[in-house]
Point group: C2
Chain length 299, copies 2
Amino acid sequence: MQLQQLRYFTAVADTRHFTRAAEREHVAQPSLSQQIRALERELGAELFHRARGHITLTDAGETLLPLARRILADTETARREVQEVAQLRRGRLRLGAPPSLCASLVPDVLSAFHATYPGVDLIVSEDGSQDLVRALADGELDLALIITPLPGQAPALATAELLREELVVVSAPGRPAPVAGRRTRIRVEDLRGRPLAMFRRGYDLREFTTAACRAAGFEPTFTVEGGEMDAVLGFVRAGLGIAVVPSMVAERSGLRVTPFATPGMHRVVSVAHRGDVSPPRAARELDRILRAHLADGTP
Amino acid sequence: MQLQQLRYFTAVADTRHFTRAAEREHVAQPSLSQQIRALERELGAELFHRARGHITLTDAGETLLPLARRILADTETARREVQEVAQLRRGRLRLGAPPSLCASLVPDVLSAFHATYPGVDLIVSEDGSQDLVRALADGELDLALIITPLPGQAPALATAELLREELVVVSAPGRPAPVAGRRTRIRVEDLRGRPLAMFRRGYDLREFTTAACRAAGFEPTFTVEGGEMDAVLGFVRAGLGIAVVPSMVAERSGLRVTPFATPGMHRVVSVAHRGDVSPPRAARELDRILRAHLADGTP
DNA sequence: AGCAGCGATAGGGACAGCCTATGGAGATCA
DNA sequence: TGATCTCCATAGGCTGTCCCTATCGCTGCT
């Protein structure tokens, strides 16, 4: 049994005419007759009463017709659905990103992606890089933005550097600046003993900041800790302390921004996906939009 | 898109292995790879992530899989259903017959048919020959038993003589015999003035009997008329009159049977179906059983 | 009787699908 | 590190199948 044969069969059933059915199917009449014969032979039953000028379905033909129609309709559906998914008219994209990026880069990029591919469902997992890496490896995510380098060895991931993010100190505008005198830049050592508003455990920024302080020989001082990005910015705004955040976040916070002294503080954001399989088209497309967005917004 | 390709596709999806899928489908591995490639090319989307030793479905593949399974299942269903209908394991047979035959021959034959083909639904239309002929031509019946010759010209029917039925007179056992003296046979003329129990209009027997009386030069006398076969036999049993019925019916009625004098009264029963199309297999099979039953029961 | 319409049949050509042989990239192990 | 194995992709040849044109046979109409 072949789909072509079912198509010919329904054409004859519709037109009640071999010649006209052949025309409809853009095939010579003998070819169509032959295929119908082949189908009948395979099924072991005549499908049509071949009376002169009066082709009608046999019992077997009547039985086959609805199933043939359904099968053909399903093939059309299959073709369409696959192409819709392939062309990103439908689908799903599971993106992981650390909270700091979810508060800055991610919304803009996802907005652009959604404008281009409104049929694709977007699912964002906001988590620390290590958890994101695990989720990627477990197939729970299609793509993740992570902070590199990772402490341990990544389990079969493909990562590509995306951007170098500058870290800055934010403080409340009405309060004394975090550095005295004419200086407009801060050093890590200046954080010693300064009250910091700190993110909850799991934030890459928390690990990064404490690691930097320890490298400078002291343990950072927290006045309040445990909140998400917005909460920490709120703490700073309320004068509870200062905080180290990416410049991208700092710029849109409305807080006083103090960059670090040369060479500054940086962290590298990379795009990661499973290394053993190529990511879904939606993921590749998001990656493209990400890079376009960065190339466009930062020159 | 071809059914074979969908089969190969599901085989790979099931086994997550091209080589093993090829074995399962009894085909060389390159042939299967080629067909998958062809399917992917036609759909414009990769269906599998081809990672070493780790074949997984892409989004497009995940989308296609359930539809492919359904299509393949439908083809199997189609194959099975058509063959069941063709082999009379299922189906429908619409038989028309005049009431006199429905009271005698038809139940036995349908019983035999049903014993052989229990899956075939039997639908009986009990009606006069002329109505049956019309129903046949309109495609409402597959097969009909009719009394021949028909008065008018049959509209494109194929008829084949089935049996010659002898007509006899039935009367109530406790009543005087319809013929006096030593005679055991009756003539049509003897019906003149005799009270007859007569069938409702539409019965072939009614037309046949009145026609015979008229041919003998008199109009028959009805004491009661209008019932079906059983009712008429009941009237006779109750002594309301005598009746002309086929011998086959008379024999099982328990009434006194008086045959007609030589050459007797006969009518011819034929099997009819549409002449422009061959009847369904169920109808041909019933015809066979009919003839077998008659050859078996009357020697 | 002749003609037109329609489906079946015959015969030949092109192409598709299948085969075997082989290539090439990882994984495994000595 | 090199040898081997596994597994999928590619190449080339062959066969079967599908489609084509030409034609036949039958039926119904003029």
